[in-house]
């Protein structure tokens, strides 16, 4: 039973367009980031191979958060499809057990959620063969890094995010609330990053990142270029503990969902009241054949006698059971909504100064000016600390190719003057960064942030 529900869930998405569109988006982003310098996902590539294991794993760690809104689409649907589409009465009157139903849907949506992240591997592998890339900066395909990227980041992060979103959607029976929940999770992550950057205890900081990004950057911060080119970080040490911790949190959240979820109807339905109001006498309609007292009417064609004209059941269903705001987020219409959302993700990445994930950064900040500000500050702060720590040991990270301005030094210099995240927002770091990184292409972070 569980297996067939699971496979139905997976096949449902494999057959649809959305999954492949999302996968293609991720693959294209990573393809662009790996093959050119004009698109940055996560952090600017250093002087490692462009497909170094470290780079691949870093892409995987960033992509988890990048796909959060995509995952929300799959998981929302898996958890609340029957409420959104008005099939819950049919489904919940079957003898399927809650356990099979929830686990089948959940595991199916987790597997589907991992698929777009695999676009990372596709993007990196394909980028190698583009005519414009510099072959000297490409190493052989490091399969282990791809695999470990999936094991370290894609799967655990998908489980964690899916557990949270699934639980919200299944318990509230609303795709809107869980969508908001996923945005809160994203913003909350950025804020959390800002707070965590103050933590002196590195082990604690490594443990507390639910997506493992900080864990990864801290664990590899003393790695040499040679190491970054050849070694992939396995599920070991603090990474293992971090993953175990957050998988457990996900499991606990999902366990709560299993405990609370009920097939029974909610008390909030007011159908009887609405119907009764309609049946009240004295309500005149255009139909002159109706009797005012009892609402009798003669259907001359069919010869049947009814109380009231028959409402269109489909229309009624829509009105009563669907919330139309949910429609916007529902299956078919999702990509159009999620695309601007994805661009928000240019902000909360902790490793990067160049937050130019999409060519239209101004689109991003309109809906979330405050959050954006906050997140960007968090990013700078974190990066600075890491770099400052980094400096004495890993001098190699300052060797930059002529095509790339040595902006890392600038980080270092600007590091000490950075204010803590709670301080009033200052445009200084932004403008400095913009100028330092690439004079001809300002990041526009500071200007739009103030707008």
């Amino acid at each position: 039973m569980l297996g067939t529900i699971f496979s139905f869930e997976v096949r449902y998405w494999l057959r649809g367009m959305m999954l492949w569109v999302f996968t293609a988006i991720v693959a294209l982003l990573i393809f662009g980031a790996a093959s050119t310098d004009s698109l940055v996902v996560g952090s600017q590539l250093e002087n490692t191979h462009r497909n170094a294991p470290h780079v691949i794993q870093n892409f995987y760690s960033v992509t988890s958060l990048l796909t959060l809104l995509m995952i929300t689409a799959f998981v929302n649907s898996a958890a609340a499809r029957d409420f959104a589409n008005g099939t819950w009465q049919m489904v919940f009157s079957t003898p399927v057990s809650r356990r099979d139903f929830l686990w089948g849907r959940f595991l199916g949506s987790v597997v589907v959620s991992v698929i777009p992240m695999l676009g990372v591997s596709a993007g990196v592998i394909v980028a190698r063969w583009m005519p414009w890339v510099d072959a000297e900066r490409w190493g052989p395909v490091h399969w282990q890094a791809h695999l470990l990227g999936i094991v370290d980041f894609a799967i655990p992060n998908a489980v964690f995010m899916a557990a949270v979103i699934f639980t919200i959607a299944a318990l509230t029976r609303s795709t809107v609330i869980s969508f908001v929940g996923s945005i809160v999770m994203m913003v909350g992550y950025g804020v959390g990053e800002a707070l965590a950057s103050d933590i002196e205890n590195e082990r604690l900081a490594m443990l507390l990142d639910p997506f493992g990004m900080r864990t990864f950057s801290l664990m590899t911060k003393y790695w040499t270029v040679a190491e970054k080119n050849t070694v992939a970080l396995g599920l070991e040490g603090m990474m293992l503990w971090n993953r175990l911790l957050w998988m457990s949190v996900g499991a606990a959240v999902f366990g709560f969902c299993c405990w609370k979820f009920s097939f029974a109807e909610r008390a909030r339905r007011v159908k009887a009241g609405a119907a009764e109001a309609e049946a009240a006498p004295g309500r005149l309609e255009r139909d002159s054949r109706r009797c005012p007292q009892h609402g009798v009417r003669r259907d001359s064609a069919g010869g049947s006698h009814k109380l009231h004209s028959q409402p269109d059941p489909q229309c009624e269903t829509r009105l009563r059971q669907r919330d139309f705001s949910g429609d916007v987020l529902a299956d078919g219409h999702y990509p159009g909504n999620v695309l601007p959302g994805i661009s928000i993700l240019g902000l909360p990445d902790p490793n990067s100064l160049h937050q130019r994930l999409t060519p239209v950064p101004d689109l991003i900040r309109i809906p979330f000016p405050r959050a954006g500000q906050c997140l960007r500050m968090a990013s700078f702060d974190h990066r600075t600390k890491t770099k400052t720590d980094n400096m004495p040991v890993s001098s190699s990270s300052f060797d930059t190719s002529p095509s790339q301005p040595p902006f890392s030094q600038d980080f270092h210099l600007s590091g000490p003057i950075f204010t803590p995240p709670a301080a009033p927002r200052s445009a200084a770091p932004c403008s400095r960064t913009a100028g330092a990184s690439d004079g001809s292409q300002p990041t526009s972070a500071s200007s739009s942030g103030r707008a």
Binding site: Q89, S93, A272, H305, L307, H308, P313
Partner: protein
């Protein structure tokens, strides 16, 4: 095989008392639940279909406590909700297959046969690969019947099944129900009197959460024998007549109101005796006349 309902009461959060101490005994065969919109029919059916918790009362099927042993009940339950949706971009075949899985038909081969037979039975085989969302109201309703019938239910609950069906489709639906209604308990709710007349050996009239009549349609009609009078009147006279007499119903025949009046003798000049039918019973009961 008998369904017993005792003292079933349900008040919604907004204060509407949908069911008020309902007692019913429903034997094998087709049972019609007749009532106007908002009478509490759907509430009653959703409770029996294990989807809604009542405030008080008991439901038993051959000694099985329906309200507390839901999982067992669901194993032999077929339920056609009053209004239901479908998943987007999915075909009837896939959706029915999925629902068959949920109903416990786990073996793929067996399930394929059952689904195929059911789609043929409801005459959807030719369109099985079309998306359900593109179905017409009648086709969608037939799909609803198919999913309710899958797994050979012993308790079949169909809520307003003929809503939105054209006369031809309604007849086909009647035949389908009559076929299976011989061996299982079928509860059919409707506000269309004709449904009950054609299908049901037993019925109940329910209004404002109370059972006004329970028994066979024939008995109910017989009780009105010789007490229903009819007359064609003008629209202007209608209010005066309604004030003077116990008017059961008035409907237009060729543009003029034909009223049915309840009375032990001829109410007044111009009235002629009418042969009572179930519709008279229905309206007389609801208006509190009989």
């Amino acid at each position: 095989m008998e369904l017993r309902i005792k003292g079933l009461t349900k008040t919604y959060a907004n204060g509407v008392r949908a069911l008020d101490s309902v007692d019913l005994t429903i034997p094998r065969g087709m049972f019609g639940l007749l009532g106007p919109n908002g009478a509490g029919k759907s509430t009653l059916m959703r409770i029996v279909a294990t989807l809604l918790e009542p405030d008080a009362g008991q439901v038993e099927l051959d000694g099985l406590d329906v309200l507390h042993r839901k999982d067992e009940v669901r194993r032999f339950l077929g339920y056609l909700p009053q209004d239901f949706g479908v998943y987007p971009r999915i075909s009837a075949l896939d959706m029915l297959d999925h629902l068959a899985v949920l109903k416990g038909l786990v073996k793929a081969g067996e399930r394929r046969d059952v689904v195929e037979a059911m789609l043929k039975r409801v005459n959807l085989w030719d369109v099985r690969k079309k998306p359900l969302a593109s179905y017409s109201g009648g086709m969608r309703q037939r799909f609803g019947v198919a999913q309710a019938l899958i797994g050979n239910p012993k308790l079949l609950i169909v809520d307003e099944p003929t809503a939105g069906l054209d006369p031809g489709e309604r007849n086909r639906f009647y035949n389908l129900l009559a076929e299976i209604g011989e061996n299982v308990v079928v509860i059919l709710s409707t506000h269309i009197v004709q449904d009950v007349m054609e299908l049901c050996a037993n019925m109940a009239i329910i209004h404002q959460g109370r059972v006004l009549y329970a028994g066979s349609p024939d008995d109910a009609v017989a009780a009105l024998d010789g007490r229903v009078w009819q007359r064609t009147v003008s629209k202007a006279d209608l209010p005066a007549l309604e004030a003077r007499h116990r008017v059961i119903s008035s409907k237009l025949v060729a543009g003029r109101p034909l009223i049915h009046v309840l009375g032990e003798g001829c109410p007044e000049e111009g009235f002629a005796p009418a042969r009572p039918d179930l519709e008279d019973v229905f309206f007389a009961r609801i208006a509190g006349l009989a």
